[in-house]
Amino acid sequence: MKLAIRRGRLVDPASGHDAAADLFIADGRIAGIGGAPEGFVAEREIDARDRVVAPGLVDLCARMREPGAEGALKREMRAALAGGVTGIVCPPDTDPPLDEPGLVRMLRQRSREAAGARLYPLGALTAGLGGEVLAEIETLAEAGCVAFMQTRSLPHDNGVLLQILRYARTFDLAVWLRPVEDTLASDGVAGAGAVAGRLGLPAVSPLAETVALHTIFEMQRATGARVHLCRLSSAAGVELLRAAKREGLPVTADVGVHHVHLTDFDIGDFDSDFRLDPPLRAQRDREAILAGLADGTIDAICSDHAPVAEEDKLLPFGEAAPGATALETLLPLVLKWGAEAKLPLGATLARITSAPARILNEPTGRLAVGAKADIAIFDPQAPWIVGRDELVSRGGCTPFTGYELVGRAMMTLVGGDLRFERKPGSASTPR
């Protein structure tokens, strides 16, 4: 379908464009920016006055809960679209884990059928994610995995990790790692500090992160493997990363959007909505994350979307399932961060568009003639109150319940296909 998106404020972080401009789409790709291409006749015109027209968001971590939960994929895909997200990286900790090409192909097939956002599956780094035996990562890459991940912590055996990095380097495959040394994290449910001390909650020392980072960086020096660090959380961790980048190690990193805004203090009276993994840390850790985003040490922000059922949160803090629904709050929360950091809109959106695309090494997250038309049209001023009724995701638990956030996706296109349109005055009603 030939589409013309008119009178919007076109923001493309990759090129630096931030001005009113029309956008033209044909055959699933961007056919023109500013002026219509020769002989273009729009079949549908979209009025984007008072809207920002941006690349669709690329979320480096959102759990779809499939394979496993029936119908979950479709639902979470709709949630993504409602959040302006057109590309989702889903971690391999599904049930069963994504360590077989057949599972990957099936997931991609289901994702195509769901006609939601694009899915970029991460393959399991080890068989069954057990951390002991290498998975067939080259075959999995062939089946469509963009990178490979060990989801909870580093493999227990350093020898195994070293071999994994060597093997991945052989095929130039990226390894995504949670920088967590499990023996130092043990059964912690809150970040170590005065709050955990006062509440008597088992704590995760920042050493769990720093020791893991030291190990990773040392092994990178030895192997040259490309590593992406998932969900940095501590001040000391950010500092180590900064030094590693200065040194020139091939490393990138993301941070979860909740850690950009919240600290352990927000746990209050054991509110399980604030039970997250990695756990919320202290104000000084948050400040280091903000500084890391400001100077580019931290490349991207992701939602770390984990749709937790309400009954799994209605438990004492330490027993509650960690995680929050976040596909739909990602955009307004990132806009909030950008506003507080006094960044231009392009620089703000880069963290959820061009930067994640670069990490994935995928041609997405940008508005350029010839690029796939993955587009988010959003209202940067639209206020809405976060609540169960306003969310599409099957998980309704978020630390921001009851908060008013500003910024909401109004229309989302994937490959030129208008897959989401918000009806005025109602909660998101995807097509």
Binding site: G193, A194, A196, G197, G200, F270, S272, E310, K313, P316
Partner: protein, 324 residues
């Protein structure tokens, strides 16, 4: 599910105590009122008929998700002496049998006309979760949640100190032992701070001390001798085997060598210092029998005070109007 921002979950809109969840956040006036009211119950305990009719007709449910015959018995005695109907539910917790959820249990019990839940749970925050979900007329009393709080123990410890020392404003109080894992220690520290004790000390090896003690107004000592020097009150904590995981301490013997309270060490404290212990004691591990049974020990009176203080806490909580 979210409570009002900034609202104290223990108090109703009139500032009355409705739930007793932790000492932290309890206004000093309420702490003192509980202690004063306990005097009245000490008096009634010396009678033939130890009951008073305050909670007659009320149903009190002991919900002990974590076993403790001692504590459950003292709460049962306290509730019965208030003439309440007491029901004990020992809910075995096994990770395999998830069965009925915590909140489903609460809802069922409320349907059975429960007025008050006394809750002990291995996870910090469990009583808070329950308090958020009970009907407005129901009261929740925390009998110990994970490592977080044991408010009635904190209160009875304060009652004990007040009984022997009268004036809090000039005391030096040392808490010795496994503070990292101790809900009693946390409640004691908050209570001592609320009552204006100027010098609160935590004594133990680094592996048993939590972070952030300085933010609670507590001075940290890793050597027992320095920690109890000149103290008016020494609170010895039980070395909790069941809560320790991994290499926190090599052995009970080494612990006793360095942190056990012996008669010789006790001499470093003030001559009229009192020795307290929440019980049960590990003789020869944290405390020498000669001290436990000695003249400065007030460990047995603590138990008597415990019933009166719990009666006071229960009656004051039950006395508040609905939680709005």
């Amino acid at each position: 599910m979210r409570t009002e921002f900034g609202r104290n979950p223990q108090l109703n809109r009139n500032g009355e105590l409705h739930h007793l969840l932790s000492i932290e956040g309890l206004p000093r006036a309420i702490i003192e009122r509980i202690l004063d009211t306990a005097d009245g119950f000490i008096a009634s305990a010396s009678r033939e008929v130890k009951n008073v009719p305050l909670l007659r007709g009320r149903s009190v449910f002991n919900l002990f998700f974590e076993n403790s015959t001692r504590t459950r018995t003292t709460f049962e005695i306290a509730a019965r002496r208030l003439s309440a109907d007491v029901f004990n539910l020992d809910i075995a917790r096994s990770s395999a049998a998830k069965g009925e959820s915590l909140l489903d249990t609460i809802n069922n019990l409320t349907a059975m006309q429960a007025d008050m839940f006394i809750v002990r749970h291995a996870a910090g925050g469990a009583p808070h979760l329950i308090a958020r979900h009970v009907a407005p007329h129901v009261h929740v009393i925390n009998a110990g949640d994970g490592r977080h709080a044991h408010p009635t123990q904190g209160l009875l410890d304060m009652y004990t100190i007040r009984h022997y020392k009268r004036d809090f404003s000039s005391l030096t109080v040392a808490i010795v032992g496994d503070i990292l894992h101790s809900r009693v220690a946390r409640s004691d520290m908050h209570a001592l701070a609320a009552l204006g004790v100027p010098e609160i000390r935590a004594v133990g090896p680094l592996t048993l001390l939590p972070e952030g003690l300085d933010t609670m107004g507590v001075r940290v000592f890793t050597k027992l001798d320095e920690g109890i020097r000149g103290a008016d009150v020494i609170i010895m904590l039980r070395l909790q085997n069941e809560r320790m995981r991994g290499a926190l301490l090599p052995s009970a013997q080494e612990y006793f060598r360095n942190y056990g309270l012996t008669p010789e060490r006790l001499q470093l404290a003030k001559p009229d210092a009192i020795v307290m212990h929440p019980g049960p004691m590990n003789r020869g591990v944290e405390i020498d029998s000669r001290v436990a049974d000695g003249t400065q020990s007030v460990i047995l009176p603590q138990v008597t005070f415990g019933i009166a203080v719990r009666m006071a806490a229960l009656s004051i909580a039950a006395s508040s109007q609905r939680m709005q």
